[in-house]
Structure formats: C-alpha cells, structure tokens
C-alpha cells in the first residue's frame, strides 16, 4: 500500500462510515415513522361506492320536492381503494359486524358521517330528515363543514367526533335511523323535538340493524313458501262458490250472465266458443265446464276484471288485439345495464314520475286478461293465445295465477309479457309461458312468489323491476334471448332458489342486496350467473357446460359464494370490475372441476384461482396441471389472499371442495367428468362428505 493513496483511503473511510451511519439511521427511522397520521378528506357522496338503499328509494328521494337528506357514512378502508358510502349509520354498523368485513376491506382509516348540526334539520311526516332549503343557506350555517357544498358533498364530521341520536322519530325508507350531529347542543335540540337519546360512536356500532342480513334471507325461504301456500289456498276456495248462473241456459252470453249473476256465486261456462269481450265488475267465479273458449275480435283486451275476489277458471282466451308497447320496451333493457350505478332517471320531474314512465310503457297495449284495482283475484287453469300480453295485473295485490298457459308471439319484438305484475304482489305458479317478451314481468310487487313455472323461448323468463322480497323458486326455463331471471334496479332480499335454466344468453342476473341465489342448476348458457348484487349469498348451485360460469360484477366484495359446483364451463369465472374476492367461507369453498392439490377428504389444500391464466385452464388444457404445480406458481398462490382489497379483478378460493356438492344431480346426469379427487384423505370423497 503506497503512502500517496492513504489520504484517499482516509476520505473514503470517512465517507463510508458516514454513509453507514446514515443508512442505519434511515432504516431505524423507517420503522418508527407513523403512517396512519394523515386523515383523508371526505369526498362527494356521489363518488363513493354506495350501499344501503335500493335504486327505487334513491330515485324516489331524488324526485321528491322536499330537500331530504338521509344520514350517510363514508369510509376510507386501509385496503380498499374506493371510498365506500353507506346510507344510514346503522347500515354501516351492521356491515362492519360481518365476519369477513375486515378481511375484505381492511380496517377503516377514516369514517365520516353526515353532520346535521346547524342545518335546521326537520323530519317529514314519514320521519325522513329534511335540511334547510337552499344550498347557499346550508353553506352559511354549516358550522362543521369539511369540504364542498353542493348536493350534500359538504357537512361531514369524523365519526368519532360526532354524537348520535338513537330511537328518535327519524326514518329512512328502510326504517329507523340514527341521526349524527357534530355538536351536542344541536343533538339535544333535536331530541327535544323528535325524541330519542344521545349516544357516542362506540354505542352506535352496537345498534341492531334495521334490515335483515343475507344470512337471514336463507332462513326466510320456508316462511315465505308457507305464506304463498296460504294465499293460494285462500284463492283456490273461490272455485267452490255455488253455481247460480249457467251461460246458454240462464243467459245467452257470458257478459249477460255476469250481469245477471248475484255476487259471490259461480257463472258456469259450458263447452263452446264465445265470441265476445268480457268485463267482470263484481266478485264472481267464472268457471268452464269442458272446453270453453272466449274469443275476442282481434281488437283490444278480451277479459277485464275490476272486482275483488274474482276467479277465472279453466277458460281459454284468444282473439286478443295486436297492440303492444313497442320498441321502447323491447329494446330498453336488452342492451343497457339498468341495475348499474349509472342508471339515472334525471329527466323525470316530480314524485313518482319515473314510475309513471315505466307504467306507460309496460302496462299499455292489449292483453288477454286485464286485472285492474282488484284484490285477491284467481286465474286458474286458463289457456291464453296472444300476440300481445297474456295477463296484466295492475294494482291488484293478492292475486294468484296458477296452472295457466300463455302462448305469446314467436318473435319477442312483436309481442309483450306473459304476465305483467304491476304493484301486484301475489303468487304465480305451475304455469307455462311460451314466447313473447318476458314470461313474468314484475314492477313494484314486493313479496311476489313465482314458483314451479315453465318458461320457453321468451326474451326473459322472469324480470324483476323495483321488486324486493320476491321468491323465485323451482322454475324451469330454456331458450331465453336475454336472460332466464333478471333482477334489475337494486332491490333487496330476493330469493332465487331451485330453478333450472338452460340454453339462454344469461341464466341468472341478480342485482340488489341481501339476496339469496341457491340450488339452481344453470347449464349450457352463454353466461350462467351474473352477480351484480352485494351482501348476498350464492350457494349450492350447479354451474355446468356454460361458456362463462359466473361473472362477478359487484364492485363491493361482500358476497358469500360457496358450495357451488363448477363443471365444464369454458371459463368458470370472469370478473368485470372490483377487487379480489375470496370465495371461501368457514374453511370451505366451491367445487371446481380442474382444481388440483393434496386433500384432507373435504377440501383441497391448494388455493384455486379460477380467474388466473393457469388455474382457469386446468380443466381443459393438457399440461396446465404440470405448470400449476411449478413451485414458483405454487408459492405465489399461498399468499394471494393476504390483502384482498388491494388486489384487482380476481377470484380466489382458498379451500376448494374436492367433491361436488350436488352429487345427486351429477349422478342423475351420469356425468363422468367430475371424478372426485378426495381419495388422498382415504376412502371415497363423496362418502366421507355425505355419510355423516
């Protein structure tokens, strides 16, 4: 080592040591710095991914004259890149109690609630909160304003800093609601006017939810069947009214018989063809005795029912006029996504005008049977041939249609619905709908039951608009151009159970929240199930031989999708938007044809990612299994679900089932491509699963 180089070394040494010290200091600093200190600013509520209100409620509130402002929450989660908006503090409280909530979204970094303090809050007659009329006024008085002012984007307060009034008269369309205030005085003033008591944030989180959660939907199915059975029993008794009038004997025409007959009796219609239009305006039973046909003059509606408790039994109806609502209805829904967040009726003004629009479109035109403002009507064993609508129920709750056949137009663009149920919850069962637009179209018919029907070659089999709480079970459908079952406009608590749907464009498309899709068999469709719904359960369905098995649309990953069988779909799952979803609950996921790995006799101990390039090809491509077992890919799969809210567009099942759930269906269809792989646990898989 030469003497000349020594100073250089000295400099280098000093530099090196300084760098070392600096590096060590920085590294230590890295672990000390607090990352959670910055609180994000609230955003305009319109920009949140929102939950807790049906589209119907949203539209009604939008269109109402009063300046209604529901209490809202917006939450910034540690893992979820979108701001999540909740209508109602109680709906957030309920959501955050869900078991998988934190796993999916992470913990809340910041929570803001609507601040009613200093905003002249009053309640409408129905308890909906109304704030000061003009935006300008609101801005001027909004003492706790955190940001913008327009359309309720301001007036937020941090959840922990607010006080809350519970058990007051305040309501949202879903029920009782909690009112947040930025300061205690305002809350006290509110309590003085509208009752209730003041609590803190921690207590609010414990308030029971007004709505049922998805878990409860499952338990309600039996109750709702029982209710429907009671309705059917009661209506069926209308068949047994005493015969007082016989057409052809007592009176020459059906219409004159109706006019002559005393109320609450039966008008018997013997075999024959009756060329007339019929108007029933008192509670009567019209019953066929043999092959009785009422044939219209191909102009207008044939049978009009306007009396409560009318029964129409065993008659054939044809000769219906050809007037249909036309292309607004035919094309209105087949392309656009009505249930999506962008759906907007902004061009309508005033209360219920959006409703009037739909009614104008859908309840118009000719029909074989029209039931208007008549409660508890029965249409039984009727056969209808029509190029327009079959039956239009308008504001006629409690109506039962059963054992009826509607044969509609072969080309759905020239036809109309088999049944339109508008504001008419009731029961439609054991009927057949061939051709035409939609087999059953419902509009604001909360709680309607559609059971055991057959629908063939329509535009849609069952089409729900603004209808919550429907029970759609055991229907068989095929050949629908748009969808077997299509639930639009974000309703709540619908149950779609035990339907068999094949050869459609989309078998089931379900929107809304708190819904239940179970035990359906969807085969040979372009798309098996489209899930737009949130906070819903999709379980024990068979999804086989479709081009796409399930398409996940919902932006919020809040659904429970387990115990479904995916077999022989070209793609088992596709994702249109949103973050990573984990389709496993309580240690059990779904059965995926193609999933590989060691098993314990129940589940496969290797995560399966149907949306991933290799896993998604396992059931179709030779060699994919070898690639999937590569340590590099295997190692990756292990941690995939660690921070799901931060991952884009995937579905992962961390505990795939090794044997199909609906093995009866597989046995019945004699499929051989579902050879269970549970054996490594000893014994046949199906046995270990089902014997105990």
């Amino acid at each position: 080592m030469s003497a000349e180089s020594q100073p250089r070394i000295e400099t280098r040494t000093v530099t090196a040591v300084s760098i070392l010290v600096l590096v060590v200091g920085l590294v230590a600093g890295l672990f000390i710095v607090d990352l959670g200190s910055a609180t994000p600013e609230p955003v305009d509520f319109d920009e949140t991914v929102s939950v807790g209100l049906t589209l119907e409620d949203e539209l009604r509130l939008d269109n109402s004259d009063a300046d209604i402002e529901l209490p809202k929450v917006q939450t910034f989660y540690s893992q979820y890149p979108y701001v999540v908006g909740y209508y109602g503090v109680e709906s957030f409280a309920a959501e955050q109690r869900q078991p998988a909530h934190e796993q999916r979204f992470g913990f809340p970094n910041a929570i803001y609630v609507t601040d009613y303090a200093g905003r002249d809050v009053e309640l409408t007659e129905t308890g909906l909160p109304v704030t000061g009329n003009s935006t300008a006024e609101r801005t001027a008085t909004g003492g706790h304003n955190h940001g913008g002012t327009a359309g309720g984007s301001g007036n937020w307060v941090l959840a922990e800093e607010a006080v809350y009034v519970v058990d007051s008269e305040a309501r949202t369309p879903s029920g009782e609601t909690v009112m947040p205030f930025g300061d205690r005085e305002a809350a006290e003033a509110f309590v003085e006017s509208y009752g209730g008591e003041i609590v803190g944030w921690e207590a609010v989180l414990e308030v029971p939810a007004g709505d049922d959660d998805a878990e409860a939907v499952r338990g309600r199915i039996a109750d709702r069947h029982a209710e429907a059975n009671a309705t059917v029993d009661s209506r069926t008794r209308l068949r047994d009214r005493p015969v007082e009038t016989v057409v052809g004997e007592d009176e020459p025409t059906v219409q004159s018989a109706i006019e002559a007959a005393p109320p609450n009796t039966t008008v018997l219609v013997p075999e024959g063809t009756y060329r007339e239009h019929v108007d029933v305006d008192k509670p009567l039973t019209l019953r066929a005795d043999g092959d009785a046909r009422i044939v219209g003059n191909d102009n207008g509606t044939v049978v009009t029912i306007t009396a409560n408790r009318t029964a129409f039994v065993g008659l054939n109806v044809s000769g219906v006029g050809g007037s249909t609502p036309g292309p607004t209805v035919t094309d209105g829904h087949s392309t656009g996504n009505v249930g999506g967040a962008s759906h907007d009726h902004g061009d309508t003004v005033g209360d219920d005008s959006w409703d009037a629009d739909v009614e104008d479109d859908y309840a118009q035109g000719d029909t074989a049977i029209e039931v208007t403002n008549a409660e508890d009507v029965l249409v039984d064993e009727t056969e209808i041939h029509t190029d327009a609508a079959g039956i239009i129920l308008y504001a006629s709750p409690g109506s039962v249609v059963r054992g009826t056949t509607v044969v509609g137009s072969e080309n759905y663009r020239e036809g109309h619905m088999g049944i339109v149920a508008m504001r008419s919850p009731g029961v439609i069962e054991n009927s057949t709908f061939v051709g035409g637009l939609d087999g059953v179209y419902t509009h604001r018919s909360e709680g309607i039951a559609v059971r055991g029907n057959e629908m063939i070659d329509n535009r849609m089999g069952i089409h729900l608009m603004f209808t919550s709480g429907a029970l759609l079970t055991d229907n068989a459908m095929s050949g629908q151009e748009t969808a077997g079952i299509y639930v639009m406009t974000g309703p709540q608590r619908n149950a779609i159970v035990g339907n068999e749907i094949r050869d459609t464009e989309t078998a089931i498309s379900v929107g809304g929240t708190d819904s239940y899709v179970a035990e359906n068999v969807v085969t040979e469709n372009d798309l098996g199930v489209r899930i737009e719904a949130t906070a819903s359960i999709v379980e024990r369905n068979v999804v086989a031989d479709n081009r796409n098995g399930i398409e996940a649309w919902a932006l919020l990953p809040t659904n429970r999708v387990t115990h479904n069988d995916f077999v022989d779909n070209r793609r088992h799952v596709s994702v249109s938007s949103g973050r990573l979803r984990v389709w496993t609950h309580d240690g059990e996921g779904n059965y995926w044809e193609g999933a590989i790995g060691p098993t314990d006799g129940t589940v496969i101990q290797r995560p399966y990612t149907p949306t991933a390039p290799v896993d998604g090809r396992l059931h179709q491509v030779d060699g994919a299994a070898t690639l999937a077992r590569a340590p590099a890919l295997d190692a990756l799969a292990g941690f995939q679900g660690a921070v799901p809210g931060m991952r884009a567009d995937e579905v992962i099942d961390v505990a795939p089932l090794c044997a199909p759930v609906n093995d009866e269906w597989f046995e019945a269809t004699e499929r051989t491509d579902t050879e269970p792989i549970c054996r490594s646990g000893g014994g046949s898989a199906a046995q270990t699963r089902y014997d105990d």
Partner: protein, 290 residues
Amino acid sequence: MSRFQGFGAVAWREVRTVVRTRSYLLLSVGLLAVFAGTLRAGGGIEGGYIPTAVDLLLPLELLVPLVAVALGYRAFGGENDDRPVLLSYPVSKGSLVAGVYVGRLIGLAGIIGGPLLAVGAAVSRIGGAESRVFATHQGADSPVLFVRFLALTVCFGAVVLAMAMAASVLVRTSRAALAAGLAVLVVVVAGGDLLAFLGLTADAIGEDVLGTVLGASPNSAYRGLVLESVVGVATDQGGAIDVSAAVAGLAGWLVVSLGAVVVGIDREPFAGIRTGIGELTGRVAGALDR
C-alpha cells in the same frame, strides 16, 4: 495505518471485486427478471406496494440466501485462497473481517436492492386503483412500506451472508466451501422452519411461545417481520411474530457468525476441529460428485 483505514481498504477491495465481476451484474438482472415474472403472475404490482411485497416475499426467501451464499461461501476459503493476501494487510483481524463483510454486504445490497428499487419505481408509476367514476385513495399503502420491505430484505441477506462466511472459514477446499455454503442455504431456507414445525407437532414448542421461537430461524424471522411491519399495517392484525425475538434472533445469528469468522480466520484456535469438519465436508462433497 488506523483501524478505519484498514477496514476501508479491505471493504473497498471487496466492493471493487463485486463490481468487476460481470456475473454478479448478470445475477442482478436475473433477479429483476424473476421479480417481473413473479409480479406478472401474481398481479401485485397493479395493487400497490403492499401486494407487491406480498408477491415477492416468498421468492425472496429463496433468492436472498442464494445470493448471500454465492457472495459469502468463498470469502476466506477455496483453492484461490485469499486469506494469506488478506492476512498480509497490516490490519487487525476484526477490521479485516468487518471490511470483507461490509464490502460484500454492499455488493449484496446492490445486487438485490437494485432490482427491488426498480420494482418500487414501477409500482409508483402503475400501482394503485384509478377510476373515473369513483373517488379512490391509497388506504394504508405507502412507498415507505416498500422501503421497509427492502430494508428487511437486505438485513436478512446480511445475516445469511455472515453465516455463509462463517461456514467458509471452517473449511479448506473450494469444494468443501461449496458444500458448506449449500448446507447454510438448506438450513436457512428450510431447516429452521422444519424444526419449528416438528417442535410444534411434537409439543416441544408450546403454542404460546411459537411466535418467539420462530425468531431463531432467520427466514421465519424475516417473514414474520415483513408480515408484521409491512403487510400488517394494512390488515391491522398483529401477532405474525414476536418482533423483539425476531430482531434478537437475526442479530444473534449475525454476531455469532461474525464472531466465528474473527476467531477462525487465522486457522489457529480450532485447527483440529476445523480440519476434521473440513475433511468431512470434503468427503461428503466428493461422494456427491461421484
């Protein structure tokens, strides 16, 4: 010559060796390719810094020890034995060992840290959600977390490097050095975890102390610290590992290994044992060759 001067000279010599060796550059490029492939398969890069760290955690558990052993296994051993040259420097044993170690550590930090920094830059450009309809935010994600991950990774590498160097002073031939290096690799990558697993299943390790005991296995300590201080920030669920035990475990391996190097460097104190182990590993390596 002062203590620091000697240290600096030795360290500088090591850094230059690393820089001049083209294959190390190639190794770094190869790592970048592996990272890119992993992230493409895992999709973490679109998600942000934390998903990226999650995706890279497992490959790094394998690759970091590999790089560390590659850099460390012939630090003092092998046929082209540098030890006489190094020992001819007018510096203390401690400065010598520290110099060699720090020099190679800087090399290791460059080889692993370079590609990781490139990944971090890529995340900053394309990571995180964007939406025209909805408001988005970063959540718990932050570049700081990725730098934390990088720092933990380099620390993990530093420990394994020291272990590999300790193995290299115990053996004489390059073949034996390779075998010893591989032994370190196996112990670090799988041995500690398997021991912990066996201990747990045999009830030798109580459930209440698992988080602490894991700190003794370098890669468990590394994994636990990443899960705790990087991933855990987003999940708010601690308990991945006993942090102080993990830090103590890593520090313990580092100090013991470097101590062993200092003690063993001039072949005097444990000559007999060393020769024995050297011959044994040499024979094993020879047997493996055949």
